[in-house]
């Protein structure tokens, strides 16, 4: 029995830019189950970034309900949202967003730093996370010493280190060449298939979206289409 990880019901997001009211999301509803690999597509201005921000608990809906793992997110305070991000969500950004002049290991440690773990535990878990994305031996490299693909892998390790239930990837291959893009997508695919991590991917490249098993098109702040593109693999019963 799958529990719904994400439940959005009639979500509105309205910004006010000067006198103009911008309706970024207009009554969007979507449900995503645990273990899905979803690609969100749409042109710029469609509202997909706003949706990602809300799903990632960086932002809150103006109207409507968003439940993550059964928790109503709309009424939480900033620090409570920070707590949820720390415990349940991993982010992968287009521009990697690694902290400059800070080693791969320390970048991967960052979420654990805010959990107040001891330095020893932080190091052990971050080293393990870097191992999972194939960066053994590169723990002490700085971002400038790593290729784009490697930097994005550090970012994935940083997202994974807290064992999140949801991984949000916002155009993760947007700054990468074809080969690195494929490597990154393979890693995400493996994480979804073998570890059952729910992945939501924003992209506008069709061949990248093809890695996902469900494709949601957003237009004008509403769901335009929502289709299953391939049979979802049965989640592995094996837990690490």
């Amino acid at each position: 029995m799958m529990s719904a990880l994400i439940q959005c019901e009639d979500v509105w997001k309205i910004y006010r830019v000067g006198d103009v009211e911008v309706q970024a999301l207009r009554g969007l509803s979507v449900t995503i189950q645990q273990g899905e690999f979803v690609a969100i597509m749409g042109s710029s201005g469609s509202g997909k970034s706003t949706l990602m921000n809300i799903l990632g608990c960086l932002d809150q809906p103006t109207k409507g309900r968003y439940r993550l793992n059964g928790i109503e997110v709309g009424n939480l305070k900033p620090d409570q949202l920070a707590g949820i991000r720390n415990q349940q969500i991993g982010f992968v950004f287009q521009s990697f967003n690694l902290i400059p002049r800070t080693s791969a290991l320390e970048n991967a440690q960052l979420p654990l730093f805010y959990r107040g773990l001891s330095l020893k535990e932080q190091r052990a878990q971050a080293t393990a996370a870097l191992g999972r994305v194939g960066l053994q031996g590169r723990e002490h490299h700085y971002p400038t010493q790593l290729s784009g693909g490697q930097q994005q892998r550090v970012a994935i390790a940083r997202a994974l280190v807290t064992l999140p239930s949801l991984l949000l990837a916002d155009e993760p291959t947007g700054n990468l060449d074809t080969q690195s893009s494929q490597e990154i997508m393979k890693i995400l695919e493996t994480l979804n298939r073998d570890e059952g991590i729910t992945i939501i991917l924003v992209t506008h490249e069709i061949n990248i979206a093809a890695y996902a098993s469900r494709e949601i098109m957003i237009k004008d702040g509403q769901v335009l289409s929502d289709r299953v593109t391939k049979a979802r693999p049965t989640p592995s019963p094996v837990e690490a």
């Binding site: 921000n53 920070a82 991000r85 690694l98």
Partner: protein, 411 residues
């Protein structure tokens, strides 16, 4: 939490080490402020100690009583010009006030002193033998005169180091020599130990002591026999000085038949009073130092605030990332506060080091005495911490209030 604090301090130090030039310039305000205060206080303390030594050279626990002015109206003479105090006043005070360990008296005039073919104009003091003990004079050679000398108006003299230097050849033994004061021959029976400058800056060693009776009858030609230029009293304990001074006042007023509404015809000064004047001076100095310190710490603090604001802007994206992975507001506030305090503390410590070096160099080069006080160092350290905390608050809060979405998107 403590792992978090330690790691944040480490991170802060690393960021500072990375921007050494910038951090150095930022800290400069604090460094200079703290250094100036430490150096100035050290020099001030040294000067204060020197002044205290001068005051102590007056003698221990001394009360000085000067005659008052001649009249309250018309042409007024200078202090000590009246003849209101007498030897019998001094003797009576000693008898009536048990707090007084001893009383003495003196009268002075500047006169020419001749020895061989040299001469000198110096103050001649006719004194009671007790004066020497009250004012704590000691001898490098010879010794004091006695009550017998006083009773017989003996022509004997004690001379100070300045007189020795001006009348005698180096190495010549003054004791036993005969000098002439206003053409009256005096035998030198003692040479006084040097005392240096007085608290008022006069040369205490430019002095000749002769028995009071000799001065009165053979040198000064006083019209009022028994009148004195000043009286001195001493107490065993410094705490007794104010009480003794008050009792002296009462006795003298009674002896001089001064009505309640009339002013005293004498002035009483104690060592404590003189000390107070000095304290007042050093308080003014201290206030000035605090003003300088406040201004430079303020300037230094503004520098730190400025650089942190720049840093918050530069690292907006980093702050966004930290927030995205779960940093709470207090985490961001702490990070920047710790950076601010690290800056100000490192600046403070450098300033302390520089200040101590400056004080030592002053002693070495200018020869001024300096005293480095531990309290000032602790205070400087504490203040630089507070400056960091205070001026770090605004940038830290600014960072913590950033919207994570906008921060992540910041170019």
């Amino acid at each position: 939490m403590s792992a978090f604090v330690w790691l944040t301090i480490l991170t802060a130090l690393r960021i500072l080490a990375r921007n050494r030039m910038r951090a150095g310039l930022t800290m400069l305000g604090i460094v200079i402020g703290v250094a100036v205060v430490i150096a100035m206080v050290s020099i001030g303390e040294g000067a204060k100690r020197a002044v205290q030594a001068q005051i102590a050279s007056m003698g221990t626990n001394v009360i000085v009583i000067f005659p008052g002015v001649t009249s309250a109206s018309g042409v007024r003479g200078s202090q000590g010009s009246a003849v209101t105090l007498t030897v019998s006043d001094a003797l009576d005070l000693k008898k009536r006030i048990p707090l007084l360990a001893d009383t003495g008296w003196a009268k002075r005039d500047v006169m020419q002193i001749v020895y061989g073919n040299r001469n000198w104009n110096g103050p001649i003091n006719g004194i009671s033998p007790s004066y020497l003990t009250i004012r704590d004079w000691s001898f490098t050679s010879g010794g004091p005169f006695t009550q017998t000398d006083l009773d017989s108006a003996a022509r004997v003299a004690l001379i100070g180091q300045t007189i020795v230097g001006n009348l005698f050849e180096p190495g010549e033994e003054p004791v036993g020599a005969v000098i002439r004061i206003k053409n009256v021959p005096f035998r030198v029976i003692g040479v006084l130990s040097p005392k240096g400058q007085s608290a008022q800056g006069s040369d205490q060693d430019d002095v000749i002591f002769i028995p009071f009776s000799t001065a009165e009858r053979k040198v000064f030609g006083t019209s009022f026999i028994g009148s004195v230029g000043a009286m001195f009293g001493s107490t065993d304990q410094v705490e007794d000085l104010p009480m003794a001074a008050e009792q002296i006042r009462e006795v003298l007023r009674a002896r001089h038949r001064i009505q309640t509404e009339q002013d005293d015809d004498f002035t009483i000064r104690t060592q404590v009073d003189i000390g107070k004047v000095q304290e007042g001076t050093s308080e003014t100095l201290t206030m000035m130092l605090f003003a300088i310190a406040s201004v430079s710490l303020l300037v230094g603090g503004i520098g730190i605030m400025n650089i942190l604001l720049v840093s918050v802007t530069e690292r907006t994206r980093e702050i966004g990332v930290r927030m995205a992975v779960g940093a709470k507001r207090r985490h961001i506030v702490m990070q920047f506060l710790i950076e601010a305090m690290t800056l100000s503390l490192v600046g403070g410590v450098l300033g302390i080091a520089l200040g101590i070096t400056g004080a030592k160099l002053t002693t070495l080069i200018a020869g001024w005495p300096t005293i480095i006080s531990g309290n000032v160092i602790i205070l400087a350290f504490f203040f630089s911490l507070v400056v960091g905390l205070f001026f770090g608050l605004y940038p830290a809060n600014k960072a913590a209030r950033l919207n994570p979405i906008e921060a992540l998107r910041y170019e």
